[in-house]
Symmetry: none
DNA sequence: ACTTAAGCGAGACGGTACGTCTGGTCTTAAG
DNA sequence: CTTAAGACCAGACGTACCGTCTCGCTTAAGT
């Protein structure tokens, strides 16, 4: 979300907002976070550099906006099988993240966050927090319905997302959604209660 | 490994090699890959910038050298319990990687590799390949001894490392080796054969 | 004269132009053309290095600007005595050139021009051409008024400036304007018509 | 003249001396003093850079050597006409200097000397001093024989060399020895005694 | 309808880092 | 001790971006 415009004067063009974020996304996918230049973003968006800075006070803020706007939401379809809901959510998310080209951006942002408090805050506030709602809810529902043996919710989260992200990151592009689903199911199989459906 | 020096003329000082790589490691941990400057590396190493370029033709090559030299080797202790060997190896590796500050460097390198064929090659050649030997060997031994149900070796790898890396990356610093071990064991529990010790 | 700024965008600060050329002049006098560094010019002018390159694409262009802006014009006072006008002009010019510290710069530029077509063009276009107007005019007036025996204008020019420049160059700093005047008059005495006033 | 070699050990190759100075001369003519690099001299001479530094402690010393070795001596042919001897000497010298390509080197050295005491000393000691012997002698003989009106010897020198050097420097390459002679004779004509031959 | 505050593209500005080149010094192996 | 080769530190080169700052112009909202 860009910094908000003052009330007076000419209003900002909404179209410019989207041109900037779209251009930034393409540039990130092309060049990576390291080699991302606002100059190229501005050129691709057909915009002056100050027009970007008017909205985002620095590169981090722009990255934040891209992550916020473009990373897929976690879509939770609630069926009778709680565990299957979890798996579907995680697989869909990982696959979309990978296909959209944002996987590497998100991962690079996490790495950057280690040395960069601003980026850490960006991630926590705009990336993880809004997404953890769905995940934690679904996990707690699964735990409550005794689908899982007694484990920490964080453990479920790590078993669910860890292998998916790791495989996508290490292997590269070509991973089928089916393979991902199998992997996620296998990862969770160790903590499923024997009687669970 | 730096570009090799010619046979003739004054030989390169080995000490300079190590000063450069050590300084680079510290700078990476301090600033992150994105904000790594060879100027700062040179200053910290007490070396002229051209002396770095004599060894590494660009930033990527230097990062390659750091990853090659400084990322811990996978130390495999062979006991009677093959699965425990695997877990120990992975936990030790992940913990060392995290504690040494190289986790974020390695992860950022993976993200970078998505857009940068040179970096992709660096990772494949100098990072993954030499380490996969031990892992693949141990996994195949575990499979052969029927400790695991019949799965792809890659699945074992992803279940083993995925959750560990994911947790360290997402959570941040403070994860105890004990917590890591529990996580890894839980991840593998789903593919262990019932009768296996 | 700096490369002209585009019409659009923020206009260049005229003050920066003068700060750069003034700083360059001081540096040239201090260090000589050989040891002139744009880094030092930029520092003295309180300006970033790219700001200089925006105006002058290289060192030669900057030197051209200094020669164009700072070398004294030939001031011709027209009295009844045409020859005295010539002498005054030459002596004043040589003395100012020497005192301003630009003598060595101009001479070094001439030497450089032997190997450097760009510099040769700089000299011809910005240094000699605009100054030759006055000289040629005055010489032709002197020839027309029969003050001189019949000689080439170029001969007059060389007799007039040659000894002055040579003395200043070879001897060094301390030459009085009076000595210069005597020298110039002596040089021309050989071509003056006997009856001439 | 290079710094003298120690008595002990392997003697220096005399051939290396000449290869260096010859290469330096060619490079100077090609590139000018400003762009002269010892690297290029060494390469052209087929010699290591330290081999040059062993003989000449810096660039100035090498230039000194070239000026000393390669600038033509003033050859004074003593005939009955003292003034004609002077003119011949000056014209021959200027013409050779020009044709050898060393004119610009010598001039650049003079300009450099303004800011560089070492170069000033080089010129005074190795260039001007050994040559002024002949000139001063010839001038004093001319003065003694009443060929000239009473003037300073320095004035004669400046009238003689000034116009020649100036013309060669300003005009460029194509000046005939005959034109030079005429110019020199004209310059001196103003101080010749009426009765002189 | 007219003022006014801000948006906008372009590009200047002081900096910082890049990757390269040279200067003068030093170190090696071979002679 | 000399030689050719080449490493070493230092520092300048010309270029690319950064984040900020004007400029001339356009565009709404509020008088």
């Amino acid at each position: 979300m860009p910094a908000k415009a003052p009330a007076q004067g000419r209003p900002r063009l909404a179209e410019v907002d989207t041109r900037i974020v779209d251009a930034a996304l393409i540039e990130m996918k092309d060049k990576g976070l390291t080699n991302l230049t606002l100059e190229a973003v501005a050129a691709r968006a057909g915009v002056g550099r100050p027009t970007i800075y008017r909205r985002y006070s620095n590169k981090e803020e722009l990255i934040r906006a891209v992550l916020t706007d473009k990373v897929p939401k976690l879509s939770l379809t609630e069926t009778s099988d709680v565990v299957d809901d979890l798996v579907s959510m995680a697989v869909t998310f990982a696959d979309q993240l990978n296909k959209s080209g944002l996987l590497s951006v998100a991962i690079a942002a996490h790495a950057e966050a280690r040395h960069n408090p601003v980026m850490a805050d960006v991630l926590k506030t705009d990336y993880l927090l809004p997404r953890s709602q769905s995940v934690v809810g679904a996990i707690e529902r699964a735990l409550a319905s005794k689908q899982f043996v007694q484990v920490e919710p964080a453990t479920v989260r790590d078993l669910l997302f860890g292998p998916l992200i790791y495989r996508l990151l290490v292997v590269g592009e070509e991973v089928s959604p089916f393979g991902l689903r199998t992997l996620a199911e296998t990862a969770l199989s160790g903590i499923r209660t024997p009687g669970g459906k």
